[in-house]
């Protein structure tokens, strides 16, 4: 199992953690300031994987910075492999996989033949703590460092702002006595009922 990361120098920390948790080797597409752009990132990853044979390509849920949730399926489309997103449960069999997508109101059960790509939903797997022996062994596993291709970003952030602050609220009372007051306020002041 290979772990692939696109990022600056300090991505090595994440790679070592993954190697300690069971990855056999790593590929680090190293770039100090690669644009945080789904299209650019997807092309860089797809270019790297073009000549790689894989059965399963697994992505996380989303980047914790931009919250875009786009890269996984973009890479799959570029590589022309099936992609099931938001997978909360994944079973791999010989040459095929059964994925449970978490959707509104329940799960969509999708079968795909391998090779295929999947993006995760929370609780797909619960990470464990690596043992000391594994952490030490991780440093001996091979990490191939490469340069990603030229980035061609499509999204441009023109401004960053804090969301408008909520007007301050108030505690209107204690216990059941406050309940009629609340209902009155919800009706007359907030006008939501």
């Amino acid at each position: 199992m290979t772990v692939l990361t696109l990022g600056p120098d300090k991505s090595t920390q994440v790679i070592l953690k993954a190697l300690a948790l069971g990855a056999d080797k790593a590929v680090h597409l190293k770039h100090d300031s690669f644009p945080n752009d789904p299209n650019a990132i997807a092309h860089a990853i797809a270019d790297e994987l073009k000549t790689v044979q894989f059965d399963v390509l697994l992505f996380g849920k989303k980047g914790v910075d931009d919250d875009n949730q786009q890269v996984g399926q973009m890479v799959a489309e570029l590589l022309n492999v099936p992609c099931v997103t938001q997978v909360a449960k994944l079973e791999i069999f010989d040459g095929r996989a059964v994925a449970h997508r978490e959707v509104e109101g329940g799960s969509l059960i999708v079968e795909a033949t391998l090779p295929a790509a999947f993006t995760s939903e929370k609780d797909l797997a619960v990470p464990r703590y690596a043992s000391l022996r594994e952490l030490v062994a991780a440093r001996k596993k091979p990490i191939t460092v490469k340069e990603p291709g030229t980035a061609r970003p499509v999204l441009e952030t023109v401004s960053v702002q804090y969301p408008p602050p909520r007007p301050p609220g108030r505690i209107i009372g204690k216990g059941v006595e406050a309940v009629p007051v609340l209902v009155k306020l919800l009706h007359e002041e907030a006008k939501v009922i």
């Binding site: 789904p38 299209n39 914790v64 910075d65 931009d66 919250d67 786009q70 890269v71 399926q73 973009m74 489309e77 570029l78 099936p82 099931v84 997103t85 938001q86 909360a88 997508r101 978490e102 959707v103 509104e104 109101g105 799960s107 969509l108 059960i109 999708v110 079968e111 795909a112 033949t113 295929a116 929370k122 609780d123 499509v154 999204l155 441009e156 952030t157 023109v158 401004s159 960053v160 702002q161 969301p163 909520r166 007007p167 609220g169 108030r170 505690i171 209107i172 009372g173 204690k174 216990g175 059941v176 406050a178 309940v179 609340l182 209902v183 306020l185 919800l186 907030a190 939501v192 009922i193």
Partner: protein
């Protein structure tokens, strides 16, 4: 002739999703500003009679791909149909709801068209003919204003961040069928396993009654369900309740759960930690019930009651029954 605005009006079964209508309304607004037409695309099975609703929300032309194999969301089939429609009609803007299907589909279309998607937008604006999208980032701590340097501009819209509005006079376009030749695919969508009796998703709810660690256990959610029923809402949960196994993950509101923006959010026995807050802070009105007067939630709730949820919630249910004259 200006290029049209194309909207994917998502459906579930034989009904359109509320978030689909929200996208049609926003599409109508942008089309009016641009002096363009709005086309709505529906994909599914059994939607024929509902297509008229898309005209009610402002679509000038409506297209339908109807086939049993489209009843459930199949990424390859849906992508194929939408890309066909895009090639034929060359829209300048494409809108989809930011539902699980919309968020899955938009990036696939974008990468094939060599353009980008602004995902989970809470606001769109047209300035000098250029589309700008406002979308939350860093788990909602900031709002980014984004421009897509590609064409068409694609945006997925956060459910409940836009309000569906009927136009007057109503449009009555005739349904234009989309022929559907199944593309090759290595995916089979086998079935939909419902979690419980068919209910609305949290992201589409107008009223949410939510329970946290203070509820103490799964059986105690009964009082929240009763309150939700009276007020016409659905029940949500904090991460504590989900991790404890009291409620399913699909009920979770927060950073690693759903982001909701209902008109009314009633938080019961929820402390209001930042990870929960980012998932519900966009609610129009927040009510908090908690026995700890120092709980962080009282710092941002519009109305707070310090008290025992097991007394206050049933009292609130009774009071609301009186209010509604039930």
């Amino acid at each position: 002739m200006t290029q049209p605005v194309l909207v994917f009006a998502e459906s579930s079964g034989s009904q359109f999703r509320k978030s689909g209508f929200e996208a049609v309304t926003e599409g109508r607004r942008l089309a009016d500003l641009a002096g363009a037409e709005e086309y709505a695309v529906a994909i599914g099975h059994g939607l024929e009679e509902r297509m008229i609703e898309l005209g009610k929300y402002g679509a000038d032309r409506v297209f339908l791909a109807d086939d049993p194999s489209l009843a459930l969301f199949h990424p390859d089939y849906y992508r194929h149909i939408l890309l066909d429609a895009v090639k034929k009609h060359a829209p300048s803007i494409i809108l989809l709801p930011a539902t699980s299907a919309g968020k899955d589909l938009a990036p696939r279309i974008a990468i094939h068209l060599n353009t980008g998607v602004a995902s989970d937008c809470v606001q769109l604006s047209l300035e000098n003919g250029d589309l700008f999208a406002t979308r939350p980032a860093y788990a909602g701590k900031v709002l980014l204003k984004v421009r897509i340097n590609g064409t068409p501009k694609i945006a997925t819209l956060r459910p409940n961040a836009f309000t569906a509005k009927e136009v007057s006079p109503v449009h009555s376009p005739s349904v234009e069928p989309l022929t559907f030749e199944k593309p090759e695919t290595r995916m089979v969508v086998k079935e939909f396993a419902a979690l419980g009796p068919k209910k609305m998703d949290l992201t589409e709810a107008s009223i949410i009654v939510s329970g946290g660690r203070g509820m103490g256990g799964p059986e105690n959610y009964k009082i929240l369900e009763e309150l939700a029923e009276v007020v016409g809402g659905i029940v949500g949960a904090s991460r504590a309740s989900v991790d404890a196994g009291w409620r399913p993950h699909s009920d979770q509101v927060g950073q690693t759960g759903r982001t909701v923006s209902p008109t009314l959010y009633i938080a019961c026995g929820i402390s209001g930690a930042i990870q929960h807050r980012v998932g519900m802070v966009n609610s129009k009105i927040i009510v908090a019930i908690n026995k700890d007067p120092d709980a962080p939630i009282f710092g941002f709730a519009d109305y707070g009651i310090v008290g025992d949820v097991f007394e206050v919630v049933p009292a609130l249910t009774r009071e609301l029954k009186k209010f509604y004259g039930k």
